[in-house]
């Protein structure tokens, strides 16, 4: 274990516990729990990715060759649930766990035991969810949105609902912990408006989580009682309304998609200034933009539902509110470009991923703007155009930001440099193949291919084959990512310096690489000029 070698200038009790069980299972240390979250999410990334491989393999050519339609639906459903709740969200919590205390000069998270609990719930939640694939009757197959009445036909609904409850509890506890840490444990002099943008983005995200995870829990609990206890919240035969579920679900669901992108904004806002060697442009505007996006996320939910037959006034309201999100999002993109402008740039792997994020996330934003226009959405809705859209924002958006963050902070975490060559190979393979994978899906959607279908007319064959080839290669490219991480953690000989990157600013870079098991036990003195954004005076 590389961590044990931490050149510690503290007392003995600051070392990590020696026993494996004690160290990892009983840990209350933010760094170890952060590592656990990151390893967990990487595992889920590969499990969810293997489901995607099944999907792309079946869609490789017209006709059913590999799986039955019901199993295909299980794959699309589980792929989404695993990637959203298992890969993207826990990895952000892991990054927050590792970096927030280091960035604000805190010794640990505010609530260390709850931190342990919120992580260790997750493996059980996913064991419950994934076990459904091996049960008679199979796993949930009604889509990750679990719209009733279809989801009520599933025999494994209770498993999925309990798993979601556990994930929700975990997320809420993680969010409470992050808020408590940021609001109470900043080092003296670390004013709110001196915090790194990543910390800001997590603070706002945590409030979103606390606001909406209970809503999801409520929605799925109503599904449960509809199925097993004879209630009729969503059952039309008993006077219920299936559309009510969609309103409740998307009231959670839209903030949820920002939960998966706001921390990514924060990461990119750390990385671009570092490698441009220039402070982030418009720090305050960046923070306000995140807050503004978070607020708007609560009033746009029904743009997922333009085809359910809402009154025209509701369509118009949700269309306008949705379009409004383009303004703060645009501000963020412009500010990233302005940060690069006049800088002194180098292009190490984290920067490459960050630049790809800005471009490809923006493409996802463009298709999002198109989807907001209701008359056009009548055509786009529930087609592969939507699939392309949300994969551009979630894969080349959220997942690319997580990869960028991994390369950016891996030397800090492990004390060793990763292989820049293989990092760049991973980047170029990923960025090429992810576009081969998802760009043709825009065309498929525009040509009229619905999403969530296991088979299709031959007119859709060409782009599906291209997309599948891109999918296999993108999936294979991620094995390089795994290799780079394993090499860096266990085999790399090249020691990382404390600062790691020439242009890096912020408290985390004042610590050794790797940081001692317990860091900032004495609050650091915050020098404004040492902060990435602390010298902003506007």
């Amino acid at each position: 274990m590389a961590h044990e070698a931490a050149h510690d200038h503290h007392d003995d009790h600051h070392h990590a516990p020696q026993g494996f069980f004690q160290r990892w299972v009983m840990s209350t240390n933010h760094k170890d729990i952060g590592t656990l979250y990151l390893i967990f999410s990487l595992t889920m990334f590969f499990i969810g990715g293997s489901f995607a491989m099944v999907i792309r393999a079946e869609l490789f050519k017209p006709g059913l060759q590999l799986v039955q339609p019901y199993f295909f639906n299980e794959m699309t459903t589980m792929h989404a649930l695993v990637m959203i709740f298992g890969a993207i969200m826990p990895s952000f919590v892991g990054l927050g766990n590792w970096m927030i205390p280091l960035m604000i000069g805190a010794p640990d998270m505010a609530l260390p035991r709850m931190n342990n609990l919120s992580f260790w719930i997750l493996p059980f939640a996913f064991a419950l969810l994934l076990s459904t694939l091996f049960l008679p009757g199979g796993g949930p197959a009604g889509g990750w949105t679990m719209y009733p009445p279809l989801s009520l036909q599933s025999g494994s609904l209770a498993y999925a609902v309990f798993a979601i409850h556990l994930m929700g509890i975990s997320s809420i506890m993680g969010a409470i912990n992050i808020i408590a840490t940021i609001l109470n444990m900043r080092a003296p002099g670390m004013d709110l408006l001196k915090m790194p943008v990543f910390v800001w983005s997590w603070l706002i995200t945590a409030f979103l989580l606390i606001a909406v995870m209970p809503v999801l829990a409520g929605a799925v609990t109503m599904l449960l009682t509809d199925k097993y206890f004879g209630t009729s919240f969503f059952n039309p035969h008993g006077g219920g309304d299936p559309v009510l579920y969609q309103h409740v679900f998307w009231f959670f669901g839209h903030p949820e998609v920002y939960i998966m992108i706001l921390p990514a904004f924060g990461i990119i806002s750390e990385i671009i200034p570092t490698f441009a060697r220039k402070p982030i442009f418009g720090y305050r505007a960046m923070v306000y933009a995140i807050a503004c996006i978070a607020f708007l996320s609560f009033i746009v939910w029904a743009h997922h539902m333009f085809a359910v037959g809402m009154p025209v006034g509701a369509d118009i309201f949700f269309m306008y509110a949705t379009m409004l999100i383009a303004v703060p999002t645009g501000v963020k993109v412009f500010n990233w470009v302005a940060t690069m402008w006049g800088g002194s740039m180098t292009f190490e792997t984290p920067m490459l991923f960050a630049i790809a994020f800005v471009i490809l996330f923006t493409i996802g934003g463009f298709s999002g703007l198109m989807l907001a226009l209701v008359p056009a959405d009548f055509q786009y809705h529930d087609t592969y155009f939507v699939v392309a859209h949300f994969h551009y924002v979630l894969v080349t958006g959220a997942a690319f930001a997580i990869m960028a963050a991994t390369y950016y902070w891996l030397p800090k975490w492990t004390g060793h440099m990763y292989s820049e060559f293989w990092g760049k190979v991973h980047f170029w393979c990923s960025v090429v193949f992810v576009n081969v994978l998802f760009f043709p899906q825009h065309f498929l959607g525009l040509a009229g291919m619905p999403r969530r279908i296991p088979d299709y007319n031959v007119a859709f064959a060409d782009f599906n084959m291209i997309s599948s080839i891109g999918g296999f290669l993108f999936g294979a490219s991620q094995l390089i990512f795994l290799g780079v991480i394993v090499h860096c953690a266990f085999f790399s000989k090249k020691k990382a310096t404390d600062r790691v990157w020439e242009g890096a600013r912020g408290l985390e870079w004042t610590l050794p690489s790797p940081p001692p098991h317990h860091s900032f036990t004495v609050p650091p003195v915050v020098h404004d000029e040492e902060l990435a954004h602390g010298h902003v005076s506007d």
């Binding site: 002194s344 008359p375 619905p450 007319n457």
Partner: protein, 325 residues
């Protein structure tokens, strides 16, 4: 492909005012349109890149907005990504660039907040018109009830030209050849499923919905089990079929033809296998067809059971082969 041909002819006053602007915008997007519009045809075709223009009086709204929004995004993308690439080229450390210190500029921040707002207001104004015209289902000359089932559609002709239609209703499901071919390990070739020289694998049904052209048709759409969504891309919209709820939508088809679509809302294992086929015919032919259908059904003693199955209505007569009842 001119903008004139894609305007709705809905009699609304501000439509005329927008027409001029639309024409200008559309002309400037000729390049984008050339990608797909020139090739626009009724059904999806290999390598299709853009949305269909559609074949109804309203469908051009969706198509036009799609093209305008795409054009706007392409222009903004070229500017933003262009600036990024210039920055990446000019401000490289390897070229000796020295980082500047500024991190703020109120003027440009106001500009790049205001310009998107203006663009969005224009887009919002354009889409609101299309939305309002879609929502107006009044003045329909015909009503068809569409009901979704796992995994087929039922069509009930409710009224036509002010007169109620009775006993013209039938189920419409995936055609037998597609159904055989699509089975796992069927060993059959999807490319061999053809209607004429058109491949209709998974896009063909046993009995299509027959509709008259140049007629404002109101659809009332619902479901008997789970949520489905009735979508014919040539009509320019889809509408969810939800149990317990009756949604409405309308169309006014401009030219005769066969228009194919699919269920667009996940509805279970055979969601991918419940296509929709609309056969649009002239009002004269439609009147004959409708009469033939009523004729065929009238003599049958009212059977309280099995009206949904109604084998007597199975044959969709080719237009013109019917007789007046």
């Amino acid at each position: 492909m001119t903008s004139g041909s894609i305007r709705t002819d809905a009699p609304r006053t501000h439509r005329g005012r927008t027409a001029g602007i639309r024409r200008i915008v559309a002309a400037s997007l000729a390049l984008v349109l050339a990608l797909g519009a020139g090739l626009a045809q009724a059904d999806p075709h290999p390598w299709q890149l853009n949305m269909t223009r559609g074949s109804t009086t309203w469908s051009g709204e969706a198509y036009f907005l799609n093209n305008v929004a795409l054009g706007v995004c392409v222009v903004i993308g070229v500017l933003v990504f262009g600036a990024m690439f210039i920055a990446m080229f000019r401000f490289r450390k390897s070229r000796g660039a020295v980082a500047e210190k500024w991190s703020h500029n109120t003027t440009v921040e106001i500009i790049w907040t205001a310009i998107p707002v203006i663009i969005l207001v224009v887009l919002a104004w354009m889409s609101t018109g299309g939305l309002v015209s879609f929502a107006n289902t009044t003045g329909a000359q015909m009503t068809v009830k569409v009901t979704g089932y796992q995994w087929k559609w039922r069509y009930d002709y409710v009224d036509y030209l002010g007169k109620p239609v009775s006993k013209v209703d039938y189920m419409s499901k995936l055609d037998a050849l597609s159904d055989k071919t699509r089975q796992l390990d069927s060993g059959m070739d999807p490319y061999a499923v053809k209607t004429g020289d058109e491949n209709t694998y998974l896009l063909n049904v046993d009995k299509p919905l027959v509709l008259p052209i140049h007629t404002k048709i109101r659809f009332v759409i619902t479901s008997d089990d789970v949520i489905h969504s009735w979508w014919v891309p040539e009509f320019g919209w889809k509408m969810d079929a939800i149990p317990g709820i009756v949604n409405t939508a309308w169309t006014n088809i401009s030219k005769p033809g066969t228009y194919r679509g699919q269920c667009a809302e996940l509805c279970g294992q055979d969601h991918g296998f419940m296509p929709i086929v609309v056969k649009a015919v002239s009002p004269e032919d439609f009147a004959k067809w409708l009469a033939a259908q009523q004729q065929a059904n009238a003599p049958a003693a009212p059977a309280p059971a099995a009206s949904a199955a109604a084998p007597a209505t199975a044959q969709v007569a080719p237009a013109g082969s019917g007789e007046h009842g």
